[in-house]
């Protein structure tokens, strides 16, 4: 081996280490599914309240959020990522933790009376902002940070609105800042699967 070969080999080692460290497995599938489920729950429960069937709202949430968790658990068992690095682990922990936090706040918070109904949406929006901010950092995607900021701005707006109107606002935010970003993650993931050497 000569010096030139040694230089090339060091460069190869560096490149492969960087690529595998930065490789992430955010397929976007769960974000899209959860986004669709939550937006259905928001609009359905809003419709139920407007129509005078407010007592049904909690059951709409129980069924839809329950389905979401069953989907996530099945996905977690069936679909193992092709690789696991620190970034993949952080994303998995952050999204699962935020999901658990929102489930606790949504059900225990409102049933106990500790959290008023109208406050659920802005509180959820604040947590969503955290999930997207961490995702932006791990995946090194600046546009995702703007999504996080949008969630926080929306949260402030909903705290100012303070009423039933927070529900449709939240529903629209879910579509704009969760389902659509999920689709973009999915596109990026598909590109990454086709060409694993590109980030």
């Amino acid at each position: 081996m000569d010096q030139q070969s040694a230089i090339e080999e060091i460069a190869l080692i560096k490149r492969v280490i960087e690529e595998s460290r930065e490789f992430t497995c955010n397929s976007g599938k769960e974000i899209i599914t959860w986004g669709i489920l939550i937006s259905i729950a928001v609009f359905a429960s809003y419709g139920a309240i407007i129509a005078g069937y407010g007592h049904l709202a909690i059951w709409i949430w129980v069924v839809i959020i329950g389905s979401g968790w069953i989907f996530s658990i099945v996905m977690g068992i069936r679909k193992r990522p092709s690789m696991e690095n620190l970034g993949v682990k952080i994303l998995s922990y952050v999204w699962t933790s935020c999901g658990i936090a929102m489930t606790i706040l949504g059900f225990a918070g409102t049933i106990s009376g500790g959290l008023e109904d109208w406050a659920i949406a802005p509180v959820f929006a604040t947590i969503m902002g955290v999930s997207f901010a961490v995702t932006a950092l791990v995946q090194k995607l600046n546009w995702v940070l703007y999504v996080a900021v949008a969630w926080w701005v929306g949260s402030l707006l909903m705290f100012l609105v303070r009423g039933l109107e927070t529900m449709p606002i939240f529903g629209v935010m879910i579509i704009l800042f969760m389902v659509i970003p999920g689709m973009l993650f999915r596109k990026q993931w598909r590109d990454q699967q086709a060409h694993p050497d590109t980030k």
Partner: protein, 98 residues
Amino acid sequence: MTDFDYKQLNDTLQSRIRVAIIAALVSVIEADFNFLKGMVKTTDGNLSTHLRKLEDAGYVSMKKKFVDRKPQTKYRITEKGKRALEEHINVLEKLIKK
């Protein structure tokens, strides 16, 4: 060229593909065959052969399991593999500095 001692170079890591496999595994917790194939850009047969050599050298450990009735093979770098890569990089750096 110089008085560089070529015996210092690790025999197992003489192959660029094996070096790339070890480098890909050093920064992940575990990875499957397809991920490694994408990283080192080689054929299935070639990758299998090199992975077996790395396993025989004790640099890589392999775990097979069934997920949803489908076989899944995961690879991890061992402590011995990490040390070997570190020593290999040191030798390469020495050669560059000559």
